[in-house]
Symmetry: C2
Subunit: 968 residues, 2 copies
């Protein structure tokens, strides 16, 4: 039972998490499969191997049978029904998710139309044999059809009481793009008459037949769907029928003839009248669809690998459209939106499943069934409860009532919102269905964002149509009017207007405007562009890289999808989906429930890795602390220099042409910088604060546009040409690879000294107030041991100087370490560690350099790369474990080999990505650091990693790993 | 004897190679010393370890004694003289190069003034004891002085027959910056009178005394030299003496008193009258000088590490200035400029060694000695021959004749030019002094450049003063007048003028102008800037990054050192030294001797690694083949698109807004591209040609300046704004990390198809002419297996297509591989190798990404880095073995683990750098590829690596590893 539970709990997936899930969870599986060569080379390290190995182990666990049932080697077909059920849901690798659940439901006594499943291994054998059905398969199928005939009392292709079946694909993981469904298989020119007689409804029987002909022709014989449509349209015109339902019985009968002609004409073969021939061809079509372009693309994009093929489910047909005593419905065992424990779903009388999905008729709430057929409704309620108890998980079910008899057609874990995931998890612990660890594993960590930020009302969003979709750079929802410059945004926001800053891209000069805006929209730049990083830090909504919008800053307009928007037009942006809408869409403010707090408490109880935050101001620090951050992993000091007064002094310093005048400017910055630190230290009292020394190239502090340069010249009373000259002098072809980071400290040691002085003075000032400050000085962009050794000596010298000046007698507890963000630093981490107290992996820059991708320019080719499956995911969003992760792991191992007590963390954007957090846990990092709003995500992800680790399931990713079975 | 020979042969160094030597050779030593932590981390691979280990082994070999003499543990002083010589030149690690050679010369019976050497270990002990002379040292010194007294019959500090000694430092490696020499030690107020009496020359004696006072006061007691100068000047003024020599005996006697006062005043102590006190203080001063700032800086800059200290040589004085029967001289046993076997040197009658060096008097040619003292001259000739036979190497000697008696004061390997190195090596093989392998090892590979390119006449250069010094970007010498744009250069060169293209930096648009110019001078850009790379490829002289020149392109002038140069001013640039001169300096054209050919033959006989070339045109290919290239390792196809006609079509393609119009433009490029390949294939008939697909970002093909954009618009008949818009669209923040390399092929597969088509069509065309073409298609900038897999499929598809179209029936022998230049590709080389036939490490980009340095911008901080010793050398010049090398080694190992037959080479600029070539050999690469003019260097370096490898001396670098002993 324990095993079964473990298998089922992996199925948790909500709609919102689908994307994350496909990205994150299956990736380790891919690694295992494709990485043999890698380990061959002997280069991968223990932990990364462990991750892959555990993923493999987990998969084999999942496919291990319960004690009752075992897969038999070579067995190709598994029956489910009263005549004996041979599979269960733990065998999903072999019989697919759908097949497993059908067998499982049958086993626990639910009314499931009997049938059988052809294994995924058989599909593999089909391809191994050069696309031929394996020898003996059809014999097996015959045998199982014969069992089915016995159980149903019907006969396949019979002229009196024909057995009809559906044929569906069903892999171990839900996978759009494969063949979906063929219904009513077994009908032919003779049995259709028998069906007409048996049901007393000739129109129904021929309608079933024409559906088979259409689906079979399309899917199995490759006849284009529109050929059938054309035939139907012609008939309707001839009969003067506006709608399908207007066509009388005779018309439908004729239509079947027309369809047979279409098949003959387009495929040069007759529709096979032999039902076994139909079945054989349909099975082969399902196998073929496993390698259809769409399916391959889907697997590639979702990182699904290591599966051998799809299973085929053959199930006896039941009909919800046999009259008003029949019906069909879909339901969730709890509310997937709120998580409340209420039965939630819809049903339609006299309809087939596809009618509910198609939305032609408006379905009723499932509770209305009570009035329609109390007995059936009560039965369904009992089944609902039984399923939840059995699976210990919220279920998404499909059912059909044929002439008053209830049949269950499908069950699977239900998708849910982040809020629902939290509530269901907590409730199920209360209901003793699952334990705390299981509860934590059930919540896709990334979905917690939904609980922390405002979001658009899903109902309102359904009605609106997105003008375009950019990158979901920073989640949340924002409604406002466009502002086209930072100054304008500040001004209008000051006047009380809600503005969305619309820029081609943002730069540090824009931060004031960004802060004033309710949201940010850029037309270029990726997930880690300046706009995205800053916005995420603030929890401010941002859509980046919306390349379809064209901005005219001078006119104050932007154009998208042929529409022009100006300063007076309200727009809405969804930072969670990347969508841009015209007009105002209503938003929902987040409310943090007690359940959320409970989940966080549990997470802290089980996680072993620390979670810090990236924060540059006391306000950010305070908020992050409220979200549970255990310190600051990254304070970027450059953001502190962009304030109105400070940027002026900063520019003075940059224009200085002697050390003396540079030092004079720095002297003015010192007290400001010190106060910044005092504020942050107070907010983080008693917790470590990693301060990164100045990192960006100096030209980032100078204006690059003529007008701004003139303004600066006027303010600073220097000729414009002086400014232009300095901008030109500081210009770099590739600033990312230029004069920045510790390279600045090497050439301008006085800047480093001022910053260190500010840190030490702030520390001592805090000590006087009895505030324990624990700064850690981080030197950025180190590539060699020599750099850090030299700068460390300067830092220590300054520390000693300030200590002496201020007559501070106690020990200064200030660590000195470095950011590992240059590949060479990771490669030579053994040397660098000799002079470092800690490492913090700057995975943004490390990703840029390891891939040779500029995050500012990646949008020129990233979309092509993702579309063509050359990259499974934007590596700036989720850590590239194979490449960049290899360096992180190597750097950690080498660093600790030199200095076992070395503290190692990660402070790139990946610190808030669940899959990356999992990897960091697996390789034994001390902490991850992420933006304040992602702290809860990191806490939960770290707990999940710890729990999976102890359970032996070491794969990365969210709580869910894709839904099971699937299909309509 | 074999061991001794091995030790001595390592000493070969020529003046020109000094820089290379200091950079390259000692580096591995540094690695060994500082890399323990690295191997501790278990991360370094076998080969790199081997390099370090062998370097260590070699060092211990060098310090191993000959069978006759052995260092005794704890022994601090080694005597040399008739009373017993305890050291020899194999003990240089212990007694320094100078001490070793003094002992060695004594042993073989040469007339060396006796003395003794205090070991380097004693210096180490001095530092270990907190800068105190080790216990017992002065006892030992006393004992050895006593032996010295017995041998010379003189007594230290004696009032009658005083023993005088010199004290000199002398480490294992020549090292400027340490204390040089104190002469005449042992003189005091009493012994000076005895010396006067013994020599019958009181002025001489007091002059010797005042020299001692001056040197001792300066070097030992820290009195500034100018204090002594001031005293001397005052005296001369008082005596009305214009020159030192005008001061009479009494004045010199008085000067000694004045000097003693100076010492007293400035050091607050008396000049020690006790000679043993003098000696003790002098020894300590030598030890102290080991850690003088200058010495530390020198060691850091030269990468000298792992030495424990300096030795101290104490030697009895002889005087060349005792009258006209005395004299002194320096000589080379062969001509160091041409290598001819003639005795070559200078001598001065009645002078001390420093007088020869100081250049106050003009010395005579050494052959003039024959007339002066035939006996002594004959004796010197015999000694010369004996020394060469003994050391089997050209020697640089110093000698003194004291009253008709010859004394040898120093011998060491002589520095020589590249041409001399080649001739001496060949001659010595003929003379049976050395074997072929030894001959190869003796020639610093980098010095071969001097033989291949024109150079400035050294005599002419001595007279001129450089206006400024930039980077020696491409060797050679050029004289011409400045041209400030590429067009101007083309025009004026066409009119027959010799022009030097002077640009801030060059871009691909400038190639025509660069080609027309005789030399290139840029004010920005590093050793691997566009100008440098292109110039080296052509063997054209280039000075890059001459940051002190300011160019005014509009006016057609540049300013440097306060002088303005226009179109009519002739300038000279030296690409070997980086110097810029005003006016015309005479050049010497290279003539390749038969000896050169012989050396190359020998090199090919012993090397095991292939040498290819980087060539983009049939002419380059032909020349490289003449230089011995065994194929092309890199053909950059983009250079082919900059011709006048082609750039227009290229731009058409870039402006195209549909695949169709892009394909139409490509269609026009196809025949041109095909003809390029046909030409190259013909030139390289039968040899492999690696063709790299289009690499640079497309915006490099568009003009960026307004005027050029207008011209382009006119030519192409499109609005300027179209061009501006495309330029803006293609603009990237960091083009190095942008849309280039295989990323272009992913988004524009039609470009790749055109290029592959051209390659295949050219191959088949050649086959028709019976020219065997062996193209290898190289995909640039691959970071993931997926990229290469997809592009490989497209390449194969196109190959098959063309083959079918052209009805070519034979097998197409075209390999498909990739450049490994992205760190991730090296890290995941096991995966990438699955779809690659070969790897070629692009170490330029790999260095950029591994360090995070943009080679276009590195000049903003590289000078500081080199100056402060943060980098031992520009990593774009010589491969960073620890970091970048680690990736090269890892990539090779991982790649071959997947595919043992994988062909692996290197095609970055490092392929022509001797130290890098050595590393490539050590890790087992199949070939290196470098610019045509560096092919001979690579052939020789590869041979040296192979020979050292088999001899167990696996350190990288040139033939020499710094001169021995050293000192004046």
């Amino acid at each position: 039972m324990a095993k079964k539970k473990a298998a089922t709990t992996r199925r948790t997936t909500t709609k919102a998490s689908k994307k994350t899930t496909h990205k994150a969870a299956p990736r380790p599986a891919k690694k295992t499969a494709s990485k043999k060569a890698s380990s061959k080379a002997g280069s991968r390290k223990a932990a990364a191997k462990k991750v892959a190995k555990k993923a493999a182990a987990k998969r084999s666990t999942a496919s291990k049978p319960s004690s009752a049932r075992r897969p038999k080697p070579g067995k190709m077909v598994y029956y489910f029904g009263a005549k004996g059920t041979e599979g269960d849901s733990s065998m999903r690798e072999l019989i697919g998710g759908k097949g497993g659940n059908l067998a499982e439901m049958t086993s626990i006594g639910l009314p499931v139309p009997p049938g059988f499943t052809i294994t995924t291994e058989t599909c593999g054998a089909y391809y191994q044999a050069g696309k031929r059905l394996p020898h003996g398969l059809m014999n097996e199928v015959h045998k199982h059809v014969s069992t089915l005939q016995k159980e149903t009392g019907k006969v396949f292709g019979d002229k009196k009481n024909p057995l009809l079946v559906s044929v569906r694909s069903g892999a171990a993981v839900s996978m759009p793009g494969m063949m979906d469904t063929i219904l009513n298989l077994g009908l032919n020119d003779e049995s259709v008459e028998a069906l007409a007689e048996a049901t007393g409804n000739r129109r129904f029987a021929y309608d079933a037949y024409r559906r088979l002909l259409n689906m079979f022709g399309d899917v199995v014989l490759g006849v284009e769907h529109r050929a059938f449509e054309a035939a139907f349209d012609g008939l309707k015109r001839r009969l003067g029928a506006a709608d399908d339902t207007d066509v009388p019985e005779a018309g439908i009968v004729e239509l079947c003839e027309l369809y047979k002609d279409v098949i003959k004409r387009h495929s040069s073969q007759d529709f096979p009248q032999n039902p076994f021939k139909q079945l054989e061809l349909a099975i082969e079509a399902v196998f073929r669809s496993w390698n259809a372009d769409r399916a391959i693309t889907y697997r590639r994009l979702s990182g699904i690998a290591g599966l051998i093929g799809t299973a085929v489910n053959v199930q006896s047909m039941v009909f919800g459209n046999m009259g008003d005593d029949s019906g069909t419905g879909v339901a969730f065992t709890r509310d997937p939106s709120t998580g409340k424990n209420i039965f939630y779903g819809e049903f339609l009388i006299n309809a087939q499943g596809e009618d509910v999905v198609a939305g032609i008729r408006t379905p009723q709430h499932v509770s209305a069934m009570a009035k329609w057929n109390k007995k059936v409704y009560d039965q369904l309620l009992k089944i609902k409860t039984k399923l939840e108890k059995h699976y210990r998980e919220m279920q998404d079910i499909e059912f059909t009532i044929e002439r008053g008899t209830l049949y269950m057609l499908q069950t699977r874990s239900g998708k849910r919102t982040g809020a629902a995931a939290v509530k269901i998890s907590c409730d199920m612990v209360k209901e003793h269905l699952i334990d705390e660890k299981e509860a934590l594993l059930r919540i896709p960590a990334g979905d917690l964002t939904q609980l922390l930020l405002p979001s658009f009302d899903p109902k309102a969003k359904t009605i609106a149509t997105a003008l375009t979709t950019g990158l979901p750079a920073s989640p949340g929802a924002a409604v406002g009017r466009p502002a086209f410059t930072a100054d304008e945004a500040v001004e209008r926001a000051h006047a009380g207007e809600k503005v969305i800053l619309v820029r081609k891209e943002t730069s540090p000069e824009d931060v004031d405007g960004m802060h004033s805006a309710v949201g940010i929209l850029t037309s270029t730049g990726g997930m880690t562009s300046h706009a995205a990083v800053v916005a995420r830090g603030w929890g401010k909504c941002c859509v980046a890289g919306a390349s379809e919008i064209t901005i005219n800053t001078e006119k104050g307009t932007f154009t998208v999808a042929g529409q022009v928007f100006g300063r007076q037009d309200t727009i809405s942006i969804d930072g969670t989906s990347g969508e841009l809408f015209a007009g105002s869409i209503s938003t929902i403010e987040p409310t943090l429930s007690g359940d959320f707090a409970k989940i966080m408490r549990w997470a802290d109880k089980y996680r072993t890795m620390g979670v810090r935050t990236n924060a540059d101001s006391p306000a950010d620090a305070k908020r992050a602390r409220e979200f549970g951050a255990q310190g600051i992993g990254l304070t970027r000091t450059e953001h502190m220099f962009f304030g109105d007064q400070r940027i002026r002094i900063m520019r003075e310093m940059i224009l200085a042409d002697s050390i003396e005048s540079r030092e004079a400017a720095l002297e003015k910055l010192l007290p400001m910088q010190r106060e910044d630190f005092v504020g942050i230290f107070r907010a983080m009292k008693g917790l470590p604060v990693t301060v990164r020394l100045l990192d960006p190239p100096l030209h980032e502090f100078l204006p690059h546009e003529a007008k701004a340069q003139e303004e600066m010249a006027a303010v600073m009373r220097v000729p414009v040409k002086t400014i232009k000259a300095r901008v030109a002098m500081l210009h770099e072809s590739n600033p990312m690879l230029g004069h920045r980071g510790c390279r600045l400290a090497v050439t301008y040691p006085e800047i480093l000294r001022m910053q260190v002085r500010a840190i030490v003075e702030a520390t001592i000032e805090c000590a006087a107030e009895r505030v324990k400050a624990l700064p850690e000085i981080m030197v950025p962009l180190v590539g060699t041991r020599a750099e850090l050794a030299m700068l460390r000596a300067q830092i220590e010298e300054t520390m000693a100087e300030v200590k002496a000046e201020m007559e501070y007698k106690s020990r200064l507890d200030i660590k000195i370490g470095t950011m590992i963000e240059i590949p060479r630093a990771a490669l030579t981490a053994d040397e660098v560690a000799e002079v470092a107290d800690f490492f913090s992996f700057g995975t943004n820059d490390l990703t840029q350099l390891t891939f040779g991708y500029s995050r500012d320019d990646i949008n020129t080719f990233l979309p092509d790369y993702l579309k063509q499956g050359l990259l499974p995911i934007d590596p700036f969003q989720s850590l590239d474990i194979t490449g960049v992760g290899q360096l992180v792991e190597m750097g950690t191992a080498k660093g600790r080999a030199t200095k076992p007590e070395l503290k190692v963390g990660i402070c790139g954007e990946h610190g808030g990505d669940p899959a990356s957090v999992h990897f960091c846990h697996a390789i034994g990092l001390d902490y991850v650091s992420c933006s304040p709003f992602r702290v809860p995500i990191a806490r939960l992800a770290a707990a999940q990693a710890a729990i999976r680790g102890e359970r032996g399931g070491g794969d990365g990713g969210d709580g869910g790993d894709g839904s099971d079975g699937g299909g309509a």
